[in-house]
Protein backbone atom coordinates (compact mmCIF):
# COMPACT_ATOMS: atom_id res chain seq x y z
CA UNK A 1 0.00 0.00 0.00
CA UNK A 2 1.11 3.50 -0.77
CA UNK A 3 0.77 6.49 1.52
CA UNK A 4 1.31 10.16 0.78
CA UNK A 5 2.07 12.52 3.65
CA UNK A 6 1.23 16.16 3.01
CA UNK A 7 3.77 18.71 4.20
CA UNK A 8 2.87 22.31 4.98
CA UNK A 9 5.13 25.08 6.28
CA UNK A 10 5.00 24.42 10.03
CA UNK A 11 4.14 20.71 9.87
CA UNK A 12 6.24 18.95 12.49
CA UNK A 13 4.84 15.42 12.72
CA UNK A 14 5.17 14.64 9.02
CA UNK A 15 8.27 12.47 9.35
CA UNK A 16 6.90 10.68 12.44
CA UNK A 17 3.79 9.86 10.43
CA UNK A 18 5.91 8.61 7.51
CA UNK A 19 7.86 6.32 9.88
CA UNK A 20 4.62 4.90 11.31
CA UNK A 21 3.29 4.18 7.80
CA UNK A 22 6.60 2.60 6.73
CA UNK A 23 6.74 0.39 9.83
CA UNK A 24 3.24 -0.83 8.95
CA UNK A 25 4.53 -1.90 5.55
CA UNK A 26 3.59 1.08 3.37
CA UNK A 27 5.69 2.90 0.84
CA UNK A 28 5.55 6.61 1.61
CA UNK A 29 5.98 9.75 -0.44
CA UNK A 30 6.08 13.24 1.03
CA UNK A 31 3.97 15.75 -0.90
CA UNK A 32 4.55 19.50 -0.67
CA UNK A 33 1.46 21.66 -0.17
CA UNK A 34 2.06 23.60 -3.38
CA UNK A 35 1.76 20.45 -5.50
CA UNK A 36 -1.58 20.02 -7.20
CA UNK A 37 -1.56 16.27 -7.69
CA UNK A 38 -0.93 13.23 -5.52
CA UNK A 39 1.48 10.49 -6.63
CA UNK A 40 -0.14 7.75 -8.75
CA UNK A 41 -1.86 4.87 -6.95
CA UNK A 42 -1.92 6.51 -3.52
CA UNK A 43 -4.17 4.54 -1.17
CA UNK A 44 -4.03 6.83 1.84
CA UNK A 45 -3.23 10.48 2.40
CA UNK A 46 -1.84 11.45 5.80
CA UNK A 47 -2.33 15.01 7.00
CA UNK A 48 0.20 15.46 9.80
CA UNK A 49 0.28 17.35 13.04
CA UNK A 50 2.11 20.60 13.58
CA UNK A 51 1.36 24.27 13.25
CA UNK A 52 0.73 24.76 9.56
CA UNK A 53 1.14 28.42 8.58
CA UNK A 54 1.80 29.24 12.24
CA UNK A 55 -1.87 28.58 13.12
CA UNK A 56 -2.55 32.04 11.66
CA UNK A 57 -6.20 33.05 11.19
CA UNK A 58 -7.50 29.72 12.56
CA UNK A 59 -5.69 26.41 13.08
CA UNK A 60 -5.60 24.59 9.74
CA UNK A 61 -7.50 27.33 7.88
CA UNK A 62 -4.79 28.35 5.45
CA UNK A 63 -3.52 24.79 4.91
CA UNK A 64 -7.10 23.77 4.06
CA UNK A 65 -6.98 26.20 1.10
CA UNK A 66 -3.59 25.00 -0.19
CA UNK A 67 -3.19 23.85 -3.81
CA UNK A 68 -2.81 20.17 -2.78
CA UNK A 69 -6.19 20.12 -1.04
CA UNK A 70 -8.05 19.91 -4.37
CA UNK A 71 -6.27 16.60 -5.00
CA UNK A 72 -7.03 15.47 -1.44
CA UNK A 73 -10.74 16.16 -1.96
CA UNK A 74 -10.77 14.24 -5.26
CA UNK A 75 -8.97 11.34 -3.55
CA UNK A 76 -11.59 11.24 -0.79
CA UNK A 77 -14.45 11.51 -3.30
CA UNK A 78 -13.00 8.47 -5.09
CA UNK A 79 -13.22 6.56 -1.80
CA UNK A 80 -9.55 6.89 -0.89
CA UNK A 81 -8.42 6.83 2.73
CA UNK A 82 -7.36 9.97 4.60
CA UNK A 83 -5.96 10.24 8.11
CA UNK A 84 -5.67 13.65 9.75
CA UNK A 85 -3.89 13.84 13.08
CA UNK A 86 -3.98 16.89 15.38
CA UNK A 87 -3.37 19.83 13.01
CA UNK A 88 -4.35 17.38 10.26
CA UNK A 89 -7.76 16.93 11.96
CA UNK A 90 -8.08 20.72 12.11
CA UNK A 91 -7.30 20.86 8.38
CA UNK A 92 -9.95 18.20 7.65
CA UNK A 93 -12.71 20.10 9.49
CA UNK A 94 -11.64 23.33 7.78
CA UNK A 95 -11.94 21.63 4.37
CA UNK A 96 -15.39 20.36 5.29
CA UNK A 97 -14.33 16.74 4.72
CA UNK A 98 -15.27 16.14 8.36
CA UNK A 99 -18.03 18.02 10.21
CA UNK A 100 -17.75 20.36 13.20
CA UNK A 101 -14.92 22.59 14.36
CA UNK A 102 -12.02 22.58 16.81
CA UNK A 103 -11.74 25.59 19.10
CA UNK A 104 -9.48 26.66 21.98
CA UNK A 105 -9.22 24.11 24.82
CA UNK A 106 -11.79 24.83 27.51
CA UNK A 107 -9.00 25.29 30.09
CA UNK A 108 -7.10 27.61 27.69
CA UNK A 109 -3.88 25.67 28.24
CA UNK A 110 -1.76 23.88 25.68
CA UNK A 111 -2.07 20.23 26.73
CA UNK A 112 0.88 17.91 26.12
CA UNK A 113 0.60 14.52 27.81
CA UNK A 114 -0.41 10.91 27.21
CA UNK A 115 -4.17 10.45 27.53
CA UNK A 116 -6.41 7.41 27.80
CA UNK A 117 -8.88 6.96 24.98
CA UNK A 118 -11.72 4.54 24.43
CA UNK A 119 -12.05 2.87 21.05
CA UNK A 120 -15.73 3.52 20.33
CA UNK A 121 -16.10 1.55 17.13
CA UNK A 122 -14.19 -1.17 15.36
CA UNK A 123 -16.26 -0.74 12.20
CA UNK A 124 -13.57 1.14 10.31
CA UNK A 125 -10.30 0.13 8.71
CA UNK A 126 -8.53 2.47 11.14
CA UNK A 127 -9.89 0.80 14.26
CA UNK A 128 -10.55 -2.81 13.20
CA UNK A 129 -7.35 -3.90 14.94
CA UNK A 130 -8.76 -2.96 18.34
CA UNK A 131 -11.68 -4.29 20.33
CA UNK A 132 -14.74 -2.13 20.98
CA UNK A 133 -14.42 -0.36 24.31
CA UNK A 134 -10.66 -1.01 24.49
CA UNK A 135 -8.66 1.63 26.33
CA UNK A 136 -5.59 2.88 24.47
CA UNK A 137 -3.05 5.54 25.35
CA UNK A 138 -1.93 8.10 22.77
CA UNK A 139 -0.20 11.42 23.50
CA UNK A 140 -2.01 14.70 22.86
CA UNK A 141 -0.24 17.98 22.13
CA UNK A 142 -2.66 20.74 21.24
CA UNK A 143 -4.07 24.13 22.16
CA UNK A 144 -7.18 23.96 19.99
CA UNK A 145 -8.64 20.48 20.33
CA UNK A 146 -12.01 21.33 21.81
CA UNK A 147 -14.40 19.64 19.37
CA UNK A 148 -17.73 21.33 18.81
CA UNK A 149 -20.59 20.67 16.44
CA UNK A 150 -24.30 21.39 16.31
CA UNK A 151 -26.73 19.05 18.12
CA UNK A 152 -27.83 17.44 14.84
CA UNK A 153 -24.24 16.69 13.83
CA UNK A 154 -23.41 15.27 17.26
CA UNK A 155 -26.50 13.07 17.16
CA UNK A 156 -25.58 11.87 13.65
CA UNK A 157 -22.00 11.09 14.66
CA UNK A 158 -23.17 8.95 17.56
CA UNK A 159 -26.19 7.48 15.73
CA UNK A 160 -24.10 6.47 12.71
CA UNK A 161 -21.33 5.02 14.90
CA UNK A 162 -18.86 7.57 13.54
CA UNK A 163 -17.16 8.50 16.82
CA UNK A 164 -13.92 6.53 16.56
CA UNK A 165 -12.32 7.59 19.85
CA UNK A 166 -13.48 9.31 23.02
CA UNK A 167 -11.29 10.72 25.79
CA UNK A 168 -11.39 8.73 29.01
CA UNK A 169 -11.89 11.96 30.96
CA UNK A 170 -12.55 15.60 30.16
CA UNK A 171 -9.29 16.60 28.48
CA UNK A 172 -10.13 19.76 26.56
CA UNK A 173 -13.87 20.37 26.82
CA UNK A 174 -14.76 18.47 23.63
CA UNK A 175 -18.46 17.81 23.09
CA UNK A 176 -19.34 14.24 24.11
CA UNK A 177 -15.59 13.78 24.92
CA UNK A 178 -14.99 13.30 21.19
CA UNK A 179 -11.34 12.72 20.31
CA UNK A 180 -11.71 11.40 16.77
CA UNK A 181 -14.43 11.03 14.14
CA UNK A 182 -15.04 9.19 10.87
CA UNK A 183 -16.53 10.39 7.62
CA UNK A 184 -19.82 8.98 6.34
CA UNK A 185 -18.00 6.39 4.20
CA UNK A 186 -15.73 5.60 7.21
CA UNK A 187 -12.57 6.12 5.14
CA UNK A 188 -11.59 9.51 6.56
CA UNK A 189 -10.48 9.67 10.19
CA UNK A 190 -9.59 12.86 12.03
CA UNK A 191 -8.33 12.73 15.60
CA UNK A 192 -6.50 15.08 17.96
CA UNK A 193 -4.36 12.47 19.80
CA UNK A 194 -1.22 11.21 18.06
CA UNK A 195 -1.17 7.46 17.23
CA UNK A 196 2.10 7.98 15.32
CA UNK A 197 3.78 9.11 18.54
CA UNK A 198 2.73 5.85 20.19
CA UNK A 199 3.60 3.45 17.38
CA UNK A 200 6.85 1.99 18.71
CA UNK A 201 7.75 0.71 22.19
CA UNK A 202 10.85 2.94 22.07
CA UNK A 203 8.50 5.94 22.11
CA UNK A 204 7.01 4.85 25.41
CA UNK A 205 4.02 3.03 23.99
CA UNK A 206 2.87 1.16 20.91
CA UNK A 207 -0.93 1.37 21.15
CA UNK A 208 -1.01 3.45 17.96
CA UNK A 209 0.76 0.82 15.83
CA UNK A 210 -2.45 -1.24 15.50
CA UNK A 211 -4.16 1.66 13.73
CA UNK A 212 -1.50 1.79 11.02
CA UNK A 213 -1.29 -2.00 10.79
CA UNK A 214 -5.03 -2.54 10.24
CA UNK A 215 -5.13 0.33 7.76
CA UNK A 216 -2.22 -1.09 5.75
CA UNK A 217 -3.88 -4.51 5.57
CA UNK A 218 -7.23 -3.01 4.54
CA UNK A 219 -5.72 -0.81 1.84
CA UNK A 220 -4.02 -3.79 0.22
CA UNK A 221 -7.28 -5.69 -0.07
CA UNK A 222 -9.49 -2.66 -0.81
Amino acid sequence: MKAAVLVFPGSNCDRDLAVAFRNAGCSVEMVWHKDTTLPDDVDIVGIPGGFSFGDYLRCGAIAARSPIVGALKSHVERGGYALGICNGFQVLVETGLLPGALIRNAGLKFICKPVDLTVETTASDFTSGYTKGQSVTYPVAHHDGNYIAGPDTLAALTGEDRVAFRYGGNVNGSADKIAGILSENRRVLGLMPHPERAADPALGGADGADLFRSLAIAAVTA
Binding site: A61, R65, V93, G100, A101, N105, I148
Partner: protein, 79 residues
Protein backbone atom coordinates in the same frame (compact mmCIF):
# COMPACT_ATOMS: atom_id res chain seq x y z
CA UNK B 1 -10.91 51.57 -0.60
CA UNK B 2 -10.64 49.80 2.70
CA UNK B 3 -12.84 47.17 4.25
CA UNK B 4 -13.00 46.09 7.84
CA UNK B 5 -14.26 42.63 8.72
CA UNK B 6 -15.52 41.82 12.20
CA UNK B 7 -15.52 38.13 13.03
CA UNK B 8 -17.21 36.78 16.16
CA UNK B 9 -17.98 33.32 17.46
CA UNK B 10 -21.68 32.68 16.91
CA UNK B 11 -24.03 32.99 19.84
CA UNK B 12 -24.14 29.74 21.73
CA UNK B 13 -20.55 28.79 20.87
CA UNK B 14 -18.58 28.76 24.09
CA UNK B 15 -15.75 31.31 24.03
CA UNK B 16 -13.09 30.14 26.49
CA UNK B 17 -10.91 33.19 25.83
CA UNK B 18 -13.80 35.59 26.47
CA UNK B 19 -14.53 33.72 29.70
CA UNK B 20 -10.90 34.08 30.82
CA UNK B 21 -11.03 37.84 30.11
CA UNK B 22 -14.30 38.17 32.03
CA UNK B 23 -12.75 36.38 34.97
CA UNK B 24 -9.65 38.61 34.88
CA UNK B 25 -11.77 41.76 34.77
CA UNK B 26 -13.63 40.57 37.88
CA UNK B 27 -10.32 39.89 39.63
CA UNK B 28 -9.21 43.45 38.81
CA UNK B 29 -12.28 44.84 40.55
CA UNK B 30 -14.45 45.60 37.52
CA UNK B 31 -17.82 44.59 38.87
CA UNK B 32 -20.89 43.99 36.79
CA UNK B 33 -19.24 42.37 33.77
CA UNK B 34 -21.82 39.79 32.77
CA UNK B 35 -20.01 38.42 29.77
CA UNK B 36 -17.10 38.93 27.37
CA UNK B 37 -16.85 37.69 23.80
CA UNK B 38 -13.58 37.95 21.94
CA UNK B 39 -13.49 38.29 18.15
CA UNK B 40 -11.18 39.39 15.37
CA UNK B 41 -10.91 42.46 13.21
CA UNK B 42 -9.32 42.17 9.76
CA UNK B 43 -8.61 45.28 7.67
CA UNK B 44 -8.28 44.84 3.92
CA UNK B 45 -6.88 47.38 1.48
CA UNK B 46 -8.66 46.99 -1.85
CA UNK B 47 -7.95 48.22 -5.38
CA UNK B 48 -11.66 48.64 -6.03
CA UNK B 49 -13.27 52.06 -5.70
CA UNK B 50 -16.84 50.78 -5.92
CA UNK B 51 -18.34 50.18 -2.48
CA UNK B 52 -20.99 47.67 -3.58
CA UNK B 53 -18.61 45.44 -5.52
CA UNK B 54 -16.00 45.73 -2.76
CA UNK B 55 -18.55 44.60 -0.18
CA UNK B 56 -19.57 41.64 -2.34
CA UNK B 57 -15.94 40.69 -2.92
CA UNK B 58 -15.07 40.85 0.80
CA UNK B 59 -18.20 38.83 1.57
CA UNK B 60 -16.85 36.12 -0.73
CA UNK B 61 -13.46 36.32 1.06
CA UNK B 62 -15.24 35.75 4.37
CA UNK B 63 -17.14 32.72 3.08
CA UNK B 64 -14.03 31.26 1.46
CA UNK B 65 -11.36 31.85 4.07
CA UNK B 66 -11.70 34.61 6.64
CA UNK B 67 -14.52 33.12 8.73
CA UNK B 68 -15.33 29.52 9.59
CA UNK B 69 -19.08 29.81 9.18
CA UNK B 70 -19.60 26.61 11.16
CA UNK B 71 -18.75 28.56 14.31
CA UNK B 72 -18.24 32.20 13.33
CA UNK B 73 -20.34 35.06 12.04
CA UNK B 74 -18.92 38.05 10.20
CA UNK B 75 -19.83 41.63 9.32
CA UNK B 76 -18.25 43.62 6.51
CA UNK B 77 -17.77 47.36 6.88
CA UNK B 78 -16.64 49.43 3.88
CA UNK B 79 -14.59 52.45 4.98
Amino acid sequence: MKARVHIMLKNGVLDPQGEAIRHALGTLGFDGVHGVRQGKVIEIDLASSDAASAEAEVGKMCETLLANTVIESYEVEIL
